[in-house]
């Protein structure tokens, strides 16, 4: 019953549109052909609000003509133009649909010209539109075009959590030597010998950056060592959230090593919020106090050069680490050891030898191995022109 009613309305509409073409010029130019095979469907795999139209262009569409898209809403079903699509597109997505509303879409050819002032005038009479079945948009449960990245994410989570589980069950996990991390104890040992402090700068970013989170974890280990050896530690901060985290971490480390007596609040201090003022204050401190070891681990920007160069000129052992490559050249040139890229994330596992963390490093490596194998296999397959699997991996 209902559909018959709507069809009737549609017919009525089509007749109406024919009777009163929109913006019809005074003289009657030739009538344009109408598009064929119009199908309107809910856009799959989205949050709703979108309807996809597909059609075939009329064969004898004159040059310069395009396709006008119209839409009608219940209950009046009065077709209104909503957009123009270039000839040859054959598809259009209406992203302004409301979920659950049964729209009808219309298409017709239109030929408009733009004069030099930018005003648009219609050059040929538009034909009566072809009208679709009613269609409504709705939301879906899964974003189909992201299947590949979904599978990859799920696999990755499984691999990482699985490796953590394996590590927890007591399986020994090998981890290769990372020179920069081995040097941490050497640096702190030297500081203890000559009786000077260790300075740790956790970058200048806030805790929303994962490199800062990694750096704060490394700080925990450094603080445990300084607590053990009874060496003085100083952690100047630029970001207040990082400062709060760093102080808690250092306090916890001293507690764990059973040396709460050695912990002083001023060890972790807040300098200022301004990047350069921070840099100036910290490098002045380096020159005055000449720390024996300086750690520059975290996310650094332009200040890396000044901090690292000043540290080098004071003769400190310097260990730097950053995952983002932009400042690495300066660290490589001026520091004794540099953690490059992913090494930063592996550091907390390497230092603590905690099974959970080692397991996740193992998981990361397995994922990396799989990616390398996929890449090699993909290159081989593509080289013999069998199949191009890169399109399976490309994300949308």
């Amino acid at each position: 019953m209902k559909s018959a009613g709507i069809t009737l309305i549609g017919l009525f509409l089509a007749a109406n549109a024919f009777a009163a073409p929109i913006d019809a010029p005074a003289t009657q130019p030739p009538v344009l052909p109408i598009p064929q095979n119009l199908v309107a469907k809910d856009k799959p795999g989205d949050s709703g609000g979108a309807v996809v139209l597909t059609w075939t262009d009329p064969v004898s569409l004159p040059a310069g003509a395009d396709i006008e898209v119209l839409r009608a809403e219940p209950p009046a079903y009065d077709l209104q133009p909503i957009d123009h699509v270039a000839a040859g597109a054959g598809t259009y997505t209406d992203t302004s649909a409301k979920n659950g509303v049964a729209y009808r879409y219309g298409l017709r050819s239109s030929l408009a010209t733009t004069d030099s002032t930018g005003a648009v005038s219609v050059a040929a009479a538009t034909s009566a539109p072809v009208v679709s079945e009613p269609v409504s948009s709705h939301d879906n449960w899964f974003k189909v075009e992201r299947t590949n990245s979904f599978i990859a994410s799920v696999l990755f989570v499984i691999i990482v959590l699985g490796s953590i589980q394996v590590a927890r069950s007591g399986k020994e996990i090998f981890i290769r030597r990372i020179a920069g991390l081995n040097a941490i104890d050497e640096a702190i040992g030297r500081a203890t010998e000559i009786g000077k402090k260790v300075m740790y700068i956790p970058g200048i970013q806030s805790m929303d950056d994962i490199q800062t989170v990694a750096s704060v974890a490394i700080l925990g280990h450094v603080a445990r060592s300084t607590a053990r050896y009874g060496t003085d530690l100083e952690v100047p901060n630029k970001d207040p959230l990082t400062f709060a985290s760093a102080r808690e971490v250092v306090r916890a480390s001293y507690l764990e090593e059973g040396r709460p007596d050695l912990f002083r609040e001023e060890m972790v201090n807040y300098v200022t919020y301004d990047q350069f003022a921070f840099t100036a204050a910290v490098s002045a401190k380096m020159t005055r106090e000449k720390p024996a070891a300086i750690f520059l681990v975290g996310y650094f920007f332009a200040e890396s050069l000044i901090l690292a160069e000043t540290g080098q000129s004071t003769g400190a052992i310097q260990i730097a680490g950053q995952a983002d490559p932009t400042q690495l050249p300066f660290f490589v040139a001026t520091c004794d050891y540099t953690l490059i890229g992913e090494e930063l994330y592996a550091a907390s596992a390497y230092l603590s030898r905690e099974p959970v963390l080692l397991g996740s490093i193992r998981g990361q490596d397995i994922a990396k191995g799989i990616l390398i194998l996929i890449a090699i296999a993909g290159i081989l397959l593509a080289s013999v022109h069998l199949v191009d699997i890169s399109s399976w991996i490309r994300t949308k």
Partner: protein, 208 residues
Amino acid sequence: MSHLPPIGVWIAAFLTLSALSFLYKDNPFFRFAESLFAGVSLGYYVGITLDQTLVPNLIEPMQQDFGKHWDLLVPGLLGVLLYMRYFPRIGWVSRYALAIYVTYYIGLDFTRRLHGEAMPQIARVIVALPGPNPLAFVFVVGVLSVLVYFFFSMEQGPVTRRISRLGIWFLMISFGAAFGFTVMGRVALLIGRLNFLILDWIYPILGI
């Protein structure tokens, strides 16, 4: 003297010269400029955060239609919680806000890492060899050797050691390239400042 630059230009020129004076040595002018900058930049944060984020996204929606936007009280409350760490006895309540802030942004980061970085980049490596460009394999070798360098949980044999050494060399080339680009970036900043001093300040004074 109608060609004299406006007062704002004089202020800016004075502050520019004060900041540059650091190059000769640390001096009160520089410290003045630096302290003023620290203060003004914080004040700028206050103004811009209030005017552009907190008022239009938090205060105005609740004023206009509280029934629709009452849930914005939640981020407001969490925001206030962040400041609770200044009260040592109940400082731990700020952990709630901190945990939400950190894990949300790290969750967002997760969506970028696999979907936006690892997968498109590995897809790019998969090309037919030998391609139209005879040197295309250099790219593939580079990516894979750098990845091998980043293997942590595997003992390096004679082969993998050589591959990862090659990876380091690729890394060094890119660090060198980054250094070359950085020179350009830093010099650009100085050019900008000297342009201001010469074109906007000195030339008008001289009437050029």
